[in-house]
Symmetry: C2
Amino acid sequence: MDASPSIRLGGGGEINSKIELDSPKVATTDKLVSGDKKVYCRCWLSGTFPLCDASHVAHNKETGDNVGPLIVSVPKAEEE
Amino acid sequence: MDASPSIRLGGGGEINSKIELDSPKVATTDKLVSGDKKVYCRCWLSGTFPLCDASHVAHNKETGDNVGPLIVSVPKAEEE
């Protein structure tokens, strides 16, 4: 596994070392409908990106970080 | 400005150096309704976190990273 470190230069080093590295910018768009609930990755390590697969747990443990997912839900029409 | 680098140990160093640092894990939940569209931060640098404020642009430029936001929308009921 390539363990070459990239130094965080105070302002924040590279965050993404895995997802769509050949893309100039990884922006994701998603559409939800009423009754949907999705858990989105924000650690850029998920095997099911853009959705979360709990990879942040091992990452936080290894680095002392505290990142976690974004959970977005759309209540059913009668629940609104 | 604290420029102390944290080394990425191959597996990925600390991603979050700014948001709710006293929290053990920053997980965000949000509810959307039909017609909503929100742009969420995934670079952990936004001044309007959990929403995006384009901080990823300067970050990507400075570090060569390619992170970008998550855009979630809920079509209006008749558009579904």
